[in-house]
């Protein structure tokens, strides 16, 4: 995987479904100062991803699955392995069901969700099957294909009232720090470096790549959040469930109406770059656990479970929100506290081992 592919893979995972509701959550907590929380969240996520890379760089050929076994032995290593797989599968489930929900709400209200699930699983299967190399290429192509989207979202910027942003720090720092918890979680996705870093061709660019990936995501978040704040009044933004999509409703052309339908259909590309890496990590983790080199069978099995579940269970919006909050709670541990702990642990362990060797 080239450095570019790695960057786009990570930032593609970060920018996905969270961004559709982020402005509303921020406005709810921190009013129009929410953008400061994004900047703080950006810095924190960069620190966390640097720690991940620093940890992984100690054993450049190891994924988190090999690493956990190397340091924690068979039993505890497998437990961590399982926990990570559980985390990524939770993320994958959340992303898949949320995108199906959004598709149903906005584009295909009359199509049953198992049909949409089957449809979504086709590219999911095709792209995941071919492994990291194709995953990287896919993220790269999608990045170039979706470059026009932020530009379009910024169109309402000129119609907005910039005064809404003032005064800065209108409620002091406290709500901003509260909002940081939300923004930090919207950067989730960089923790997949635990799995993808060993496939990066030029390891020396590891940290730089993470910084760039986080910055791309931060820029996108900032652009959209600020556009929302400026365009809608500070009181209106929190009342919208998907403010980013409502933003699009205002774009009109003489030859096309309801542009958000087209936009959202195309947005499936962006959602796919969030969902597919998580599906891949889950499938890859399970195959490693049961000692299979080729992950196609596990993938097939996973896809069947997804489709089967969708026949029996159509999650209402409240369940999707619950799933999201689980992911976030788990993600806070998985992507921020766990790497720090792991880094400290591995450093100490290596220090001891180094001492022994001398």
């Amino acid at each position: 995987m080239t450095t570019m592919q790695y960057i786009f893979l990570i930032s593609g995972t970060q920018v996905g479904i969270g961004i559709l509701s982020l402005p509303a959550q921020l406005a709810d907590i921190a009013n129009t100062d929410g953008w400061i929380a994004i900047v703080i969240g950006w810095v924190i996520s960069m620190i966390a991803s640097t720690i991940i890379i620093k940890t992984m760089a100690k054993h450049p050929q190891d994924t988190i699955f090999n690493l956990s076994r190397r340091y924690f032995g068979r039993i505890f290593g497998t437990l961590i392995h399982l926990a990570f797989v559980a985390y990524t599968s939770l993320a994958a489930i959340t992303v898949v069901f949320t995108s199906i929900h959004i598709t149903q709400v906005w584009i295909l209200p009359n199509t049953p969700n198992y049909l949409i699930m089957m449809l979504f699983m086709l590219p999911g299967f095709l792209i995941t099957r071919n492994g990291v190399r194709v995953l990287g290429r896919y993220a790269e192509v999608v990045f170039y294909l979706t470059l026009w989207m932020p530009v379009l979202i910024a169109v309402p910027l000129q119609k907005g009232t910039i005064l809404y942003m003032l005064p800065i720090l209108k409620e002091g720092w406290a709500p901003i720090f509260q909002a940081v918890k939300t923004t930090v979680l919207s950067f989730l996705g960089f923790e997949l470096a635990f799995v993808f870093y060993p496939f990066l061709k030029e390891k020396k660019h590891g940290i730089k790549a993470m910084v760039i990936a986080n910055s791309i995501s931060a820029f996108t978040f900032l652009l959209i959040t600020i556009t929302c704040f400026i365009f809608f009044s500070p009181d209106e933004t929190p009342s919208l469930i998907w403010p980013t999509l409502s933003l699009l409703k205002t774009i009109e052309f003489s030859f096309i109406e309801r542009f958000e339908v087209i936009f959202l259909s195309f947005y499936l590309f962006v959602m796919s770059t969030t969902g597919i890496p998580y599906i891949f990590t889950t499938v890859f983790g399970i195959s490693q656990l049961i000692g299979k080199k080729d992950h196609t069978i596990v993938l097939l099995f996973t896809v069947c479970i997804f489709i089967f579940t969708s026949f029996l269970y159509t999650p209402p919006f409240s369940h999707i929100q619950t799933m999201g909050s689980w992911w976030e709670r788990y993600g806070l541990w998985g992507a921020y506290f766990f790497p720090i702990g792991l880094f400290i642990y591995t450093s100490i362990a290596r220090w001891f081992q180094g001492g022994k060797n001398k």
Binding site: T2, M4, I127, V141, F255, I262, L268
Partner: protein, 488 residues
């Protein structure tokens, strides 16, 4: 005869008998007995008169032999005004060469045979390429003879690095296959991969280039071609210079080129002989045509069946008016018309030219006018189908154009089931497939995925020629510099 492994004997009569036993019911095999030299010695000339140039045999072999006055001891004493000749003692070689139109000269008392190159079979003159016509490119196209085709390529590249490797494919046909490549540019691994694959082909014969292509391509389940077939020598040469390998197959008027990338099917020779702005415009046009040919009918279906709210009211009214009397749902309407167009195309292609025009007129009138007036399809549908057809004809490569026309149908079904979402998922599948597709082990999605920004100069836009200083990386060339920087 089970003795093709055997060696010849010294006796002319035994040899002749062996031949007669082997070539039974072969009326076109000529046995010409001669007495040559002083003192006279018996000799036998054997050739298939359907595959030889008779003038050459009469003037260059029989005539000098009849007037030979030297004493002939062995076959090596015979001097004939023919450049290409070889000696053998094996029956296997004799038979193989005679079948390729060579003449075998047996001499009594000698177990060696002189094989003389007298090939001359029916062949057509070099003519303008029929399928890939061009405005500014050369007007010579490949023909069915391997040697002539190689000659056409060599004329462009009189350079010692142009290497040719010959092999044969097919147990019965022994089709000669030649690989042409620039030794200092083409990647040895790619070349070896290609050679291995050709070696594995075990069939009766290869009738046409397209057959060999299907035997050796990477992914037979892909809708997209993975090798380029061309009948243009200039296209072959320009690909040779990019480090690709040209496979010339005897008896087939097109050559095969690999490894290819997706975007190379949208490039033509004319692009490079036209000024860069115009060439870039044409490239953009083709890209647009690509998307139109795949997505236009499905977009119409999606908009009408699912998302009529995205169509502005005035347009929606027009469409409604036009569809007022149409009993068919959009999908059926579109599929019906698309199939009609495909049939028209196929009919026009297979029929002789004078009748082919009639098909065009009948199709045009019936589909364009009568179907609409009869209320079977709507006006808008006719416009969309025609636009789609024209768009698919813009794609310069016929193989790619056909793939794209085929992809349109699943896309229409997806659009009728899932609307825009179905189309986007279809697009995702195409992308997902293209980025994992390989041609001879090199990624077919290059230079987009994996991205090689430097190679984008010759993709969506065609940059000025003097800016394209390096060869594209897609074929993994081992030598990158294409030209020096001589212009600022």
């Amino acid at each position: 005869m089970n003795g093709t492994q055997q060696l010849l004997t010294h006796s002319l009569d035994t040899n002749e008998q062996t031949l007669r036993d082997y070539f039974t019911k072969t009326p076109d095999l000529v046995y010409c007995h001669l007495l040559i030299g002083e003192p006279k010695k018996r000799a036998l000339l054997v050739y298939l008169n359907t595959l030889v140039d008779k003038n050459s045999i009469n003037n260059n072999i029989i005539d000098p032999l009849l007037f030979e006055t030297k004493q002939i001891h062995t076959i090596a004493d015979i001097q004939l005004p023919i450049g290409s000749k070889s000696y053998t003692t094996k029956w296997e070689h004799v038979i193989q060469h005679v079948f390729q139109g060579e003449t075998a000269l047996f001499l009594d008392g000698d177990n060696q045979v002189l094989l003389l190159d007298t090939q001359g079979w029916p062949q057509r003159a070099i003519a303008e390429p029929q399928i890939e016509s061009s405005l500014k490119g050369s007007h010579q196209g490949f023909i069915e003879t391997c040697e002539k085709n190689i000659a056409l390529i060599r004329r462009y590249l009189p350079h010692q690095q142009l290497k040719i490797e010959e092999t044969t494919v097919g147990r019965r046909g022994h089709t000669p296959v030649s690989l042409l490549y620039l030794e200092d540019v083409a990647h040895p691994e790619v070349l070896q991969e290609l050679k291995d694959r050709i070696e594995q082909v075990d069939v009766d014969t290869i009738v046409n280039t397209g057959e060999l292509m299907q035997y050796i391509e990477d992914n037979p389940f892909s809708p997209f071609p993975q090798f380029l077939l061309t009948e243009r020598p200039d296209a072959a040469v320009s690909n040779l210079l990019q480090g690709r390998i040209v496979i010339v197959i005897d008896r087939s008027p097109s050559v095969m080129i690999g490894p290819m990338t997706f975007i190379t099917f949208f490039q033509t020779v004319d692009d490079y002989s036209t000024r860069w702005m115009i060439a870039s415009f044409l490239r953009l046009l083709r890209l647009l045509a690509f998307f139109m040919a795949i997505f236009l009918p499905s977009a119409y279906i999606a908009a009408l069946s699912f998302h009529y709210e995205i169509i502005p009211l005035n347009l929606l009214l027009t469409i409604g008016e036009s569809r007022e009397r149409v009993p068919l749902p959009p999908l059926l309407e579109a599929v019906l018309m698309e199939l009609a167009i495909e049939m028209l195309r196929e009919a026009g292609l297979r029929l002789p030219a004078p009748i082919g025009q009639t098909v065009g007129i009948v199709g045009g009138v019936v589909i364009g006018q009568a179907a609409v007036e009869a209320g079977i399809v709507s006006n808008i549908m006719v416009v969309i189908v025609s636009l789609t057809a024209i768009a698919s004809f813009i794609i310069p490569n016929p193989d790619m154009s056909e793939s794209i026309r085929l992809l349109r149908f699943p896309m229409m079904i997806a659009a009728s089931l899932f609307g825009l979402v179905g189309m986007v998922i279809g697009f995702m599948l195409i992308i997902g497939h293209l980025i994992s597709l390989e041609s001879l082990g090199t990624p077919a999605g290059s230079p987009f995925a994996p991205a090689r920004l430097r190679d984008w100069k010759d993709t969506i836009l065609r940059f000025p020629l003097w800016m394209m200083r390096t060869r594209p990386l897609s074929a993994r060339p081992t030598q990158l510099t294409r030209q020096k920087k001589f212009r600022k």
